[in-house]
Amino acid sequence: MTLHIKLFAVAMQKAGTSNLEIECSMPATIADIKHAVLERCPELDQVIPHCRFAVDDQFATDTTIVTEQSSLAIIPPVSGGT
């Protein structure tokens, strides 16, 4: 099915969109999603290893399970606070 992933900062810049659509069979883990993102968007290959993923506004790990209802985002290293 189609999943929507929010992108920010350099990830958005490199992908050219703030809302990446990927195809992925459900249920999936974040590791699966990462794989699908890189297939869909190889220009993120230098960025993704430094990013965390967020599921429903919480940081996720590679084994976090994603459902159709999950809100997904890629979180590059943050730089707020200065």
């Binding site: 900062a9 943050v78 606070g81």
Partner: protein, 139 residues
Amino acid sequence: MISITNETIDTNVVLEAVQDHRAGAVVLFLGTTRSITGDRKTDSLDYECYESMAIKKLEELESIGRQRWDVIGVNIVHRLGHLLPGEASVAVAVSSPHRAAAFKCGQWLIDTLKEDVPIWKKENWSDGTKDWVHPGLED
């Protein structure tokens, strides 16, 4: 309390929100951007955030800070949008009966904000180039 704003941060307003007759100590942290980084000059900055998560994370920080330290008022304000160097992008104010708690909680809040709150800064250099700032991620 926490907030994300596009307006200039007014430190008086930030401080007033944490003042309390039980508080003997107030600690305020202001984060500003230097205009010079190495030999490059910053003309301006743009901040953006993942708003729903940033708000949840900031609320989580306040909640954990209140559990860990004996504090009375907590106020975290992060500014977004277009800033000039020297303008404050973040203010963290903590009041407590005793100063050690206010210092510790204030420092933990800003340390953790800088690790975990999804806000990003773009440097608009004076040479016309622009760079998103991502600690640990070299372009």
